[in-house]
Subunit: 526 residues, 2 copies
């Protein structure tokens, strides 16, 4: 059995290891042959020192060099596509097509290329000039970034290739990637391509580093180290909050994406107009990828009626008929069972599913639960427990105003949707509910399911705590996601030739949009 190497300070080498672990083939529920090291603090320490040096070197390079790296990396991912997709599929049981090859891999390379374009352009940093006072400011790279990737997107959110990685690198920050334990082999392959691109484009070698796992104590030490600039974390709420506490104590910005039940409100007019359609959309959205999306619709809010009963019966039929997918890991299966159990213990009734198994390997039956609005209001904290996977809770309210009370009890979520009649029949209900939901979510959606998260400048994949750690930031969408990894750097009376090119009087590209004396312009400053 081979033991994987870590990538530290520009070298693939044996880890200083306190132990090893293996990833699993979830469909077979069997371990995969490669072993991965649990690094000791010695590895973290060396990686931090190397990252701090790489950071200083990166600051001296033009952003175009960073863009070249991101593009070279994207091209290498495409060239290594077959191996990456096969490995990711083996480690996650996510289908090769369309999911990994058709969707996630192009998303990953597209994101890297968008980040490259944004780095080259420079407007992500909001360059701002006050010519009268001789002041200029912009966001500049915050320092080395530690990225903890989630289990559910082995490519597009991988700590060595995904959204946080692309945003941090494009902002000028070296990345220490910490592999997700459910797909370390995929992460190793991605880091291999990333490092080859680092070498090909002659970036500082420690621009990309990789460790697989540390002890919990070393993880906390890592995120609070003085050499770190910021942290990106996507994963479980419990582990995320432990890291947040450590980072907060050290004054280190940590950007978290933790949990979300993504409430979907379906108003009576919409149900009457296109209930069948919505039943299909919901089932697809809830069961796609075995429900393992951050934006999976985990809570449906309906108003009691005959049509609602018919709609629920339709969903039950569809959930029963749909094949049961494989879950990402034994621990996802375990936490899904625990989540469903919390919901039933809090009064929710199982309509369909509710038991482990039913699919290949790690699996859990497609599950729908039901509670009344009154039940929800009596036990709101427990009944909004995230059951990450192919399960959802339907809350049937007596009235609009009860639905309003239910929404008012929600904690922060990434998304919230309202389906309403296209002709305006639901408008009074919409006008009552939307302002409440608006305050609870990062992205408010009309008339479609939340699972799609486009990489767009106008996207927000964020939301109020505890969906994330700060409601002002997004993890998806360039350029905004890059701004998480910037510090505001102001220059006061600094001589023009000493300024970064993006803040000098002359517009460095002729196309850079800058806020000069309170107007956005591509002109030179006077």
């Amino acid at each position: 059995m081979s033991l994987a190497q870590v990538l530290i300070a520009g070298k693939w080498r044996a880890a200083n290891a306190s132990g090893t672990f293996q990833s699993y083939d979830p469909a077979l529920a069997e371990p995969i042959e490669t072993e991965f090291p649990v690094s000791t603090w010695a590895d973290c320490d060396e990686a931090l020192t190397a990252a701090a040096e790489a950071f200083q070197a990166l600051r001296k390079l033009p952003a175009s060099k960073i863009a070249e790296f991101l593009e070279a990396f994207a091209a290498r991912i495409e060239a290594a596509k077959d191996e990456l997709v096969a490995t990711a599929s083996r480690e996650t049981a996510l289908p090769k097509n369309p999911r990994l090859e058709g969707n996630e891999l192009p998303r990953t390379t597209g994101q890297l290329r968008q980040a490259a374009a944004a780095a080259r352009d420079g407007a992500w940093a909001l360059p701002t000039i006050d010519t009268k006072l001789g002041l200029a400011s912009q966001l500049e790279a915050i320092g080395p970034v530690v990225v903890f990737g989630p289990n559910n997107f082995p490519l597009a959110f991988n700590s060595a290739s995904g959204g946080d990685f692309a945003a941090a690198i494009a902002a000028g920050c070296p990345v220490i990637a910490k592999a997700n334990s459910s797909h370390p082999l995929t992460t190793m392959l991605l880091a291999r391509e990333a490092f080859a691109a680092v070498e090909a484009t002659k970036l500082p070698k420690a621009t990309v580093q990789l460790i697989y796992r540390t002890s919990h104590a070393d993880g906390e030490k890592l995120v609070s180290d003085p050499r770190v600039g910021a942290i990106g974390y996507t994963g479980s709420r419990h582990a995320g909050l432990v890291l947040k506490a450590a980072a907060d104590r050290a004054g280190k910005p940590i950007y978290l994406e933790l949990s979300s039940v993504n409430p979907v409100v379906i108003l009576p007019g919409a149900l009457a107009e296109k209930g069948d359609d919505i039943a299909g959309q919901f089932t697809t959205s809830c069961l796609m990828g075995t429900g393992q999306f951050c934006t999976n619709p985990g809570l449906v809010v309906l108003v009691a009626s005959e049509a609602t009963e018919k709609f629920i019966a339709q969903l039950v039929g569809k959930f029963s008929a749909a094949p049961v997918g494989t879950l990402l890991s034994a621990s996802v299966a375990k936490s899904l069972a625990a989540g469903v159990s919390t919901l039933t213990q809090s009064g929710a009734q199982v309509l369909v599913g509710g038991a482990s198994g039913g699919g290949k390997g790690f699996s859990y039956a497609n599950t729908l639960l039901r509670a009344s609005g009154q039940q929800f209001l009596r036990n709101a904290a427990a009944l909004q427990t995230e059951a990450f996977g192919n399960a959802s809770l339907i809350v049937v309210c007596d009235s609009d105003s009860e639905a309003a009370q239910v929404l008012a009890q929600l904690e922060g979520n990434l998304t919230g949707c309202i389906y309403s009649h296209t002709g305006g029949a639901d408008d009074p209900s919409y006008d009552l509910l939307a302002p409440i939901l608006r305050q609870k979510v990062g992205r408010l959606i009309n008339d479609k399911m939340p699972t799609g998260v486009a990489v767009s400048s106008a996207m927000n994949h964020g939301g109020p705590y505890p969906a994330t750690g700060h409601p002002g930031f997004t993890a998806v969408g360039i350029p905004a996601s890059m701004r998480r990894f910037g510090m505001l750097a102001c220059y006061d009376g600094v001589r023009d030739h000493r300024l970064p090119a993006t803040l000098q009087k002359k517009n460095p590209t002729g196309t850079l949009q800058r806020l000069i004396n309170n107007s956005w312009t591509t002109a030179d400053a006077e």
Copy 2:
């Protein structure tokens, strides 16, 4: 003796008080006659509920209404100028002119009017539209904001009228002002004018509320309450970090401005070229307002030479000759003495001053201390202790490279300056030191002292921890300071007429700058 009333839920009323306190006339070292209540949790709770209701009401109003309030408040401050300036001067011993009437009061009203203009305009929120995907996003008010103002700017940073207040209100957030205990009477007068403006412009009555003091435990409970959106705090590091820990645990964004020694590096060429000038500038900057500025130059870095000795002798002469000002409070005098004592115990030598008294009321001698670069490097943490007030430490280094090591040991600061020869004689030293200093400060300055903080879109009054809690934000400079009080609100597929006016296809003013399909434009979206 009269007992002041709190302003809660639109009423001036007696507090639920657990005790009382008085402010002092620092020049007489005597208490001022009015008593102020220490509120119990009942007051905080009522204020929070009222603020949450006011927040919902504010969200329904056009931003122009908020702008009218800010302008009405500015006009009322001007009308009440004599009383405000006299009271602030009595509570702080800051001179009426030019400081309070000529400088701080117009800064306060100017800031309120800039905030009004920014609210009316709307571009502060970075409205972003992706027409192809039907996505739109912008920053929207984060919720009620609790503002803790500092002792040193009774008008321009007052919790009921200053920078955080203006930014939060302009972003659409009601403010619960917590008075600084050294000038509660000034704060009460400002809140009186603010509330009169609230009534005149028909804003929700709890848009502005005022309490004077709480127990420490209630302060922590206040900043972590679910009804709070965010917190602005300017003050001592110790108290700030206690509040930060409480807010962090609750996932509440807290924007802190804590402490800073504002290093000033004077390179040999600059010293040769204009040492006399710089000696004058430094003395003015360090002793102005009895040194009680967040951006007071508390650490001077020089390279050893005869000219340096002459320069230091000049400073000693100027510090000896300058009148000793009055400090803001007994506690400032005490903490200044403690700060100087920490420095001397860590090896710094007193060149002039170093003893309490010498001025009217609460005072401490104008103080200069000296240490070598080697001493600093041996004891860097203690030797960068902030001695808030009219004191500064001079560090004389053997060489540029020792100066570089000194700068590398600095923690986060608001500002850092380098004086260098205008003809370029110091450029090699500048090129060595500036990149190190850049990483340590929010604002990098050339050839002038740091004490001036212009209210400009390009200002950064922020910096790396522990100068603030997050290096991406500024406390001064509109519109950037407003963005601290926004949550990112995205709309996905939301019907055009349901969108906020600023995100609808039609540009609501014809002049609002929006990022549409990645270009800033004032055109309508298509």
